[in-house]
């Protein structure tokens, strides 16, 4: 076997499609087996435009005339499979003839993998997006249940250690005749009303750095000075208390259910912690909390009651009136002459 014959044998056998093109006539002079397997025809070799109608022949000719490489990519169906080959045309340097060598690499697998990575990335992106949204929802929910600092601590360490906050002020509010209101209205209505009212309290509290700690039925408890210290905690709580009542008065004027509240406020220290291992609830404990609850019990319709210690902290803008039981009624000074 001659060297030429061996070369041709090799050329036929390799897994790359090879063809020789006459650049004058664009006739295919030679095709190896792989090329035939892809662009098979049992007839004569054919011409380039016959085989690849979409090929930009002008550019091909121009590039090759300047001894440049011309590249193209071609997709076609082989049986059911979408095949993609990368074509590379080079002018044969040898010989006086104007011949181009066409080499076709099968890049089908690469294309398939690219498609798969695209499909997979989209799936993963969508999942990541969903997970992020769920995480935000959980975070929002947890932030409703505990202060951000406690949440951050919980996220990092898995626990929230009890912490003493001192000094702080506590506000406790509930509604007089709540059982009566309950019995007269649909529970759904009550829930919706409380939701609206508590949201209002939350908004007011936020203005004065006074944070809701918990609600229990008609009982709403808020604190100023937890978890971030607040020098002006007593005023924050007093301001919130006055505005809670004002908010209710305005609301009562335009709503069918008339809510009559009473408020107790106190200052001192509290212990803040997450309690429970299954149902996490952030709560505050201590004599100050009990004091506020006790004062609330002593308060009349739409009034605020406190003790001497708290009263001494809120002289500006408020007026504390001593009561017979030793406690103090608290009102806003500017409201003295007003309608309230």
């Amino acid at each position: 076997m001659s060297i030429e014959a061996i070369n041709e044998q090799l050329l036929r056998a390799i897994g790359v499609g090879v063809a020789l093109i006459d650049l004058q006539t664009l006739e295919v002079r030679f095709r190896n087996d792989t090329f035939d397997g892809w662009f098979a025809s049992d007839g004569p070799p054919g011409t380039l435009p016959d085989l690849f109608p979409d090929l930009e022949l002008e550019t091909l000719r121009a590039d090759l005339a300047q001894d440049k490489t011309f590249n193209a990519e071609l997709s076609f169906k082989l049986r059911r499979r979408t095949m993609t080959v990368a074509m590379e045309f080079n002018r044969a340097v040898d010989a006086g003839e104007n011949i181009a060598v066409l080499v076709c690499q099968n890049i089908t697998r690469i294309k398939e993998l690219e498609s798969m990575i695209d499909a997979y990335s989209m799936m993963v992106e969508r999942n990541t997006h969903e997970i992020k949204r769920e995480k935000e929802q959980v975070e929002r929910l947890l932030l409703n249940m505990m202060p951000r600092a406690a949440y951050e601590e919980y996220k990092t360490f898995g626990v929230v250690s009890p912490r003493l906050f001192d000094p702080v002020s506590v506000l406790a509010i509930d509604f007089i005749g709540f059982d009566d209101v309950l019995s007269k209205h649909d529970p759904g209505v009550i829930v919706s009303e409380l939701n609206d009212i508590y949201s209002g309290f939350d908004r007011i509290g936020a203005q004065f750095s006074c944070q809701r700690i918990r609600t229990n039925g008609d009982s709403y408890l808020a604190v100023s000075g937890v978890p971030d210290p607040n020098q002006d905690h007593a005023n924050a709580v007093a301001q919130s208390a006055i505005r809670f009542l004002r908010f209710l008065e305005r609301r009562n004027a335009s709503h069918p259910i008339r809510w009559v509240a009473r408020i107790g406020v106190a200052s001192g220290s509290v212990l803040g912690s997450v309690v429970g291992s299954q149902n996490y609830i952030y709560d505050v404990f201590g004599e100050t909390v009990s004091g506020a609850l006790r004062h609330r019990g002593a308060a009349g319709d739409m009034s605020i009651v406190t003790d001497a210690a708290f009263a001494s902290l809120v002289q500006n803008g408020f007026e504390a009136t001593a009561r017979e039981d030793g406690l103090f009624g608290l009102i806003e000074r500017t409201e003295q002459a007003g309608t309230g």
């Binding site: 294309k111 398939e112 498609s115 997979y120 799936m123």
Partner: protein, 123 residues
Amino acid sequence: MEKTLFDKYGGFSTVSRIVLTLYDRLLEDDDLGPFFDDVDLPGIIDHQTKFVSSLMGGPASFGDDHIARAHSHLTINPHHFDRLKDLVTEVLADFDVDPVDIEAVVGAFEARRPLLVETPNVD
């Protein structure tokens, strides 16, 4: 949380190989190949990737509605479905997936048979 088969067998790295193998066999299969005649390449790959991934508990899970809708224009007969189950079993076995896990995957697939297969009028 229990580890999904997707994680157990190496995540995307393995699933991508399973997908390509299944894809090869599906296209070459005389019964099932024709279903993919008019589907373009990204379409088929997308289909296969999501299909295998969700069967193995990876990302991409489809509601039954989605599956039913995506196949509603096809006439899939019981023997097509059986053939696909066979192919899935073969490919998973080739990738050394434990028989019990193959059973789980094929079982999940079988559970969705009514969504895809036309109910035969006669037996």
